[in-house]
Symmetry: C2
Subunit: 795 residues, 2 copies
């Protein structure tokens, strides 16, 4: 069916070189085991005793020897070739391995001077691992050299590609465990090579590590016939190199040869693309590394096989503190690495161990690519004046807000043409989301075949479109974490596809912000458009405004949520989030034509406050508190609120109405709960303490209650929003179905303001009648009532 799988020749290394590499590998394995088990006696200078053992044994041994092997060999080729390299450790739950290597190469002690490269430091390295007050068991922000936490699994390869884009000199190695390879996001990531430009981008070298088992089961890829696996990887566009074995010397030789072949191939691809102008998509190399799970660990424990099985996944000898047999087995295991050959009496790694360790920032634990803030430059943002829409009177002219934003993004894209440090990603929606001005400045990245009918595709484009939110998110995360800028534009409902990914990114940022050595990176910016209220082509399946709720559960120091109500406020918001650092910013904005409410200057002032009264829209007399507050957040609720305000102005002119618009949702939170939270006095002044507040909110109404429940005026807060009533229908019918329409809002006011009298009763009935008329009209005509379709602000 396919050609014979390709196994590299095994004659790259001399015996001495094998011995040196093996010494490094043994040292890393020793240090990995030590971290899982020991809180004292790190060099085994005395026989192991129960009191040397941690009371809680936590960590993942199974993947660690494989990661140590890869790190050892990456060291060699980095040093030999002067490579600029980064490694994404997919099985990052094997934290002990990456920590061990960082300690060996010295980057750990440089980052954490309290943990020296000596016996005391080794002891501290061991004790702190998975110990309260110490370091997490996974590769994490605390781990030097990492941009990737390997806990959730699925995102290694997409992070690697994100890191490689626009870093033309970089080689990103990416270890992919065969467990992770079963996940959807990873399975989709293989096709990332159709989006990587060998001229302007770096290279990704996937190392598929088949150790055969996940937690308790064999893995799918490890159990495919070799020719089937080989066909699969060729189908992914790779040229696989197969390395397999359980005899260290042979594996050292084969892996070294494979890495040399792979890197030669990468160099040849680059030369061909950059010097010879070859444009055919290359077949990138890939290494399949098949070694036993928990290799070099206990072969058997209590009569059951461990090495090479799923039983090696976490802690192979669980009883060492209480069971003398287990303790003896642990000591034998650790001594099998011959630590006395690896560390001098003071605990320093020997020269042999360090022979292939690179220097300075070439070390994987010290590369600036893994601390992207070191590489970050401010984004060149043009003056917003160049893109703002002129406003004569509010609520009369219409613009598509995202199209206005597109002009700004085009200019940023053009201004970064040389620097290449800005990308826009989206699941095939950039044009649909009205951002197509971008194509004036760049194309859509595409390395596969093209046809004459295609438009805007280009090899070096910096708009990334693929029908996978997972890839969009992962690419952008990798891009930002390595020091660049970007924006993710998505259908609002389908942002939930990456709920779990954004969790991990927020957790990463929350922890990074607490580490002084991690430099701030550009924020992850979402533009959620094609939102819940405008799903004419799609309907119920595309209606979910809950991504905002999801991110607002996470760390307040990281999360920001904005709902700009018109084009100019969107511009101001976009300018703000694109310049910000270390946040996840969620911006919800419409793509359909919507009224302009604020001039650029007004928008700036309004966005700076985050929430404020629109005096021109209300009927306050200034001297006293209003009778009612009409609050709104989001473009459609703002429209309905303004229309309701207009109805009240005409029909109940004596009612003092205040209109409040909220752009920054976190302003509603108490001051102590979020950095943007309003002090109570400010909140009370804006919303009053005891007047009815009719709040028209873009999303699920209870979110507003969840934010504002501690406010004095909360008992008087009445929120309208989306309540999962939807189908394929008109925009106005959508707001009617969810009781967010202007007529319902007027009825809410009348129901809640006491003492309005008989005119109000009549108005309420009139409003109810219009809603009935709407129901009849729309079923007959399929369109909205003329008075709705033709409405504009007349205040």
């Amino acid at each position: 069916m396919t050609s014979t799988p390709r196994t590299p020749p095994a004659d790259v290394l001399s015996a001495a070189e094998v011995a040196d590499l093996d010494a490094h590998w043994r040292a890393a394995n020793y240090l990995s085991v030590g971290q899982i088990y020991l809180m004292a006696n790190p060099l085994l200078t005395e026989p192991l005793a129960p009191e040397h053992i941690k009371p809680r044994l936590l960590g993942h041994w199974g993947t660690s020897p494989g990661l140590n092997l890869v790190h050892t060999h990456l060291n060699r080729v980095i040093k030999a070739r002067g490579l600029s390299a980064l490694c994404v450790w997919g099985p990052g739950h094997g934290g002990p391995a990456v920590l061990a290597n960082s300690w060996l190469e010295g980057s750990y002690s440089e980052t954490y001077p309290g943990i020296g490269r000596d016996a005391a430091g080794m002891g501290a390295l061991f004790k702190q691992f998975s110990f309260p007050g110490g370091v997490p068991s996974h590769v994490a922000p605390e781990t030097p050299g990492s941009i990737h936490e390997g806990g959730e699994l699925g995102y290694a390869l997409t992070h690697a590609y994100g890191a490689a884009f626009d870093h033309p000199d970089l080689v990103v190695a990416c270890v992919i465990g065969d467990g992770e390879a079963e996940t959807g996001p990873l399975a989709a990531s293989w096709h990332s090579n159709k989006f990587l430009d060998p001229v302007h981008d770096g290279a990704v070298l996937p190392i598929l590590h088949l150790n055969g088992y996940k937690i308790a089961n064999p893995t799918v890829l490890a159990r495919l016939p070799e020719d089937e696996l080989d066909a699969l990887l060729r189908g992914y566009g790779h040229d696989p190199l197969h390395v397999e074995g359980d005899e260290p010397e042979a594996v050292h030789r084969a892996l070294a040869a494979a890495l040399d072949l792979a890197l030669d191939r990468i160099a040849a691809v680059r030369r061909a693309a950059r010097e010879d102008g070859v444009t055919e998509r290359p077949r990138w190399p890939l290494i399949v590394l098949r070694t036993p799970k928990g290799w070099t660990g206990p072969k058997e424990v209590d009569g059951l096989p461990v090495e090479g099985t799923w039983r090696a996944h976490q802690v192979p000898l669980p009883g060492v503190r209480d069971d003398p047999d287990h303790l003896r087995a642990l000591e034998a295991w650790m001594r099998s690495y011959r630590p006395e050959e690896l560390f001098d009496p003071s605990g320093r790694p020997t020269a042999q161990v360090l022979r292939y360790v690179p220097e300075g920032p070439a070390r994987l634990g010290a590369t600036p690519y893994a601390n992207g803030g070191l590489l970050l430059r401010d984004l060149p943002l043009p003056p917003l004046e160049d893109h703002a829409v002129p406003i004569d009177r509010p609520g009369t002219a219409l613009h598509e807000p995202t199209r206005v934003l597109g002009g700004l993004l085009e200019e940023v894209m053009a201004a970064t043409a040389g620097r290449r440090d800005f990308r826009v990603v989206g699941p095939d929606e950039t044009a649909s989301n009205r951002l197509d001005a971008l194509y004036e400045a760049t194309g859509k990245a595409w390395q596969a075949r093209t046809l004459p009918t295609d438009e805007h595709l280009s090899r070096d484009g910096r708009v990334m479109e693929v029908l996978s939110e997972h890839l969009c998110q992962g690419w952008l995360e990798g891009y930002l974490l390595t020091g660049r800028h970007g924006l993710f534009s998505s259908y609002e409902a389908f942002a939930h596809i990456v709920d779990s990914m954004v969790n991990q990114h927020i957790k990463w940022l929350r922890t990074s912000r607490r580490l002084p050595w991690r430099r701030p990176i550009a924020s992850l910016n979402y533009l959620l458009t094609s939102h819940v209220w405008r799903q004419d082509h799609n309907g119920f399946s595309h209606q979910d405004p809950g991504f905002v709720d999801h991110v607002l559960n996470k760390s307040p120091e990281v999360v920001r949520v904005y709902l700009p109500p018109d084009a100019n406020t969107l511009l101001v918001t976009a300018g703000h989030v694109l310049a910000s650092r270390d946040y996840v910013n969620v911006v919800v904005a419409g793509k359909q034509p919507g009224f302009d409410w604020l001039t650029l200057d007004q928008a700036r002032a309004h966005c700076a406050r985050g929430a404020g009264a629109w005096e021109w829209a209300g009927t306050e007399d200034g001297g006293r508190e209003p009778d009612v507050v009409l609050a709104c957040a989001g473009d459609v609720p703002t429209l309905e609120t303004l229309a309701a305000a207009s109805l009240l102005r005409h029909h109940l002119p004596e009612l003092a109405v205040r209109v409040v618009n909220v752009v920054d949702m976190t302003r509603l939170l108490p001051h102590g709960e979020h950095p943007h939270g309003m002090p109570d006095a400010e909140y009370d002044a804006l919303f009053t303490r005891d007047k009815p507040v009719i709040f028209a909110y873009h999303g699920y109404p209870w979110l507003v209650h969840r934010l504002a429940y501690r406010r004095a005026g909360h008992p008087h807060l009445h929120v309208r929003g989306y309540k999962e009533e939807g189908t394929t229908t008109t925009p106005f019918d959508m707001v009617v179905r969810n009781d967010l329409d202007r007529y319902r809002l007027v009825m809410d006011v009348i129901d809640r303001v006491p003492g309005l009298g008989v005119r109000a009763v009549a108005l309420r009935q009139a409003m109810a009648d219009v809603r009935t008329r709407h129901h009849d009209w729309i079923r007959e005509h399929g369109t909205d009532l003329p008075e709705v379709a033709d409405w504009s602000w007349d205040g």
Copy 2:
């Protein structure tokens, strides 16, 4: 690299057969176009005029001709072979196609008698499509024959496999668009064939439809060289058949031949496995169908190419109502199908059109497999007494709740050994989640290679383990939607991976419940364990209790959330949810040893109420209201609350404490907002209207406020929960970091109950001192304080 891609011979059909199939295809295409455009004049009995055109043109044409082609040809083979078949339409946004076919075969009119198979019915079919008050633009629950809404994309193939499991006679065809094929979940789904048993399961026939474009871009798979695509599909374990063309007759012949080959191959695989005992994993057939996007539609519009490009995606002629050229082009397009040959003057399809349409339930729109409730049998649930743990005194004995549940599940699994209508899915965590008793009754489904060290793998196992939450969810959805039962056990944090999938399933159920012809199906049951408070091996990346928040945003008629605090309440809850219908039930329960609090009878009574006072745990004197309510939900918060109650009992015995435990979170909602919501009087009686309530909640604390904000006592409600403070540490340190620990709860009580006096002040200081002592102790010893580790209930 690979063998030449295989194209089937093209001599299967006679000329008359081609003509008959083509007539059906043309009829379906005609009906598809009519639905997108027309609100009158369905048979074009008069020249098209603007008033015949809908005011809003909504729908997706591009994929429709391909879906119509597949449906036409599936009809033929179903009829010719007497197949039991179901089709999952991945590009279900091409709703007009599936609706057209259902109308043609008569299943539409049987389901909706108001829409007859005549001219009036055709007119109604056209008008209702994407029209307010009509039917959605996608395949949806309203669509006969469907189990799959094709809006979000990604889940077609996993739904197809779910439908095929344990339906040995069924063939599930699955159309996969090349856009959808870029998603992560779809990319992972290909390997589902390693879990499908040719003896006990049906077959899945993927039809990869490459029409070349998604919304605005070419697709990756369509632009791969043919040999690369072929290698990929072979790597997925398939034997691909390639059909390609843009000339109808040739494509009819090639597709018919490919379907015959594929079905012959499926029959041969079944025979080999079922009669000859072949156990080698078969290479299942797959059809690659390459036809133009928007085939048979306008070739050009306004001078730009449309057929065969992304411009055919939605509505190719957008201006028909206003632009006479567009209107003429539409009429020419519709007349190109020669409707006068396809429908008689009364609007009925001609005999030629219907020649290959199957009869009765064999029709794709009438198969009971797509209305799973018709096939559903009650699950045989054993008496809970057989599995309940005995309780002498509460809070003294420990059990792992999920292990106790495992015994119940084992018995259900054993009782369904013959019926084969119950499966448990999970991302490689069944044993880790302590449900391994299941392996006494069945194995883990596995068709790939096995090794002697493997355990519990079996070809016909009904536990499904794969490291992909997407596959688990999709398989289970497909299984339930076709009339069976199941459970998904997952790490709590990673349930977010399927946030967007569960959205769609909830929306499906919400809509199905409103359709009388859709019979109730078994609920989708989640067991979320390995929860936020017990992530010793993993830490911060594995801590997120927000899946509950996510589902509680969705339709209350569908969503249920339970937090049983011990083994017996988990048993009662499990018994309840496994017997329920049309819900999504989320059950959060611990797998670590936890105290037993309630006997089985007490658990039954407590779960029936959903929330109630535990009198034995409090210090009320019965006659008057308590001074304070200690409320709790979730196993760890219950433990901390009981420990706090014990401290208060000893140190402030005069304080009247009521302990309330909440199992069913939706009981906190107002009565009108959720079917389980408590009436205010009941809530007030339980929680009081004005006494402090210290609520220890399992997840994000603001969720409780979001549920209870309308209650009279809400201003006195103080909630503790998870607030994103975590790392690798001990269970008790986790609760301390998040201020949920027993000592903090006692301090909260003292802070909120007025007039407690000097003993309370001293107690508060003592509590603060223990927390300080905890901080010092844990950093030194790595374990919890002895008084915490050794605590048991002494009430």
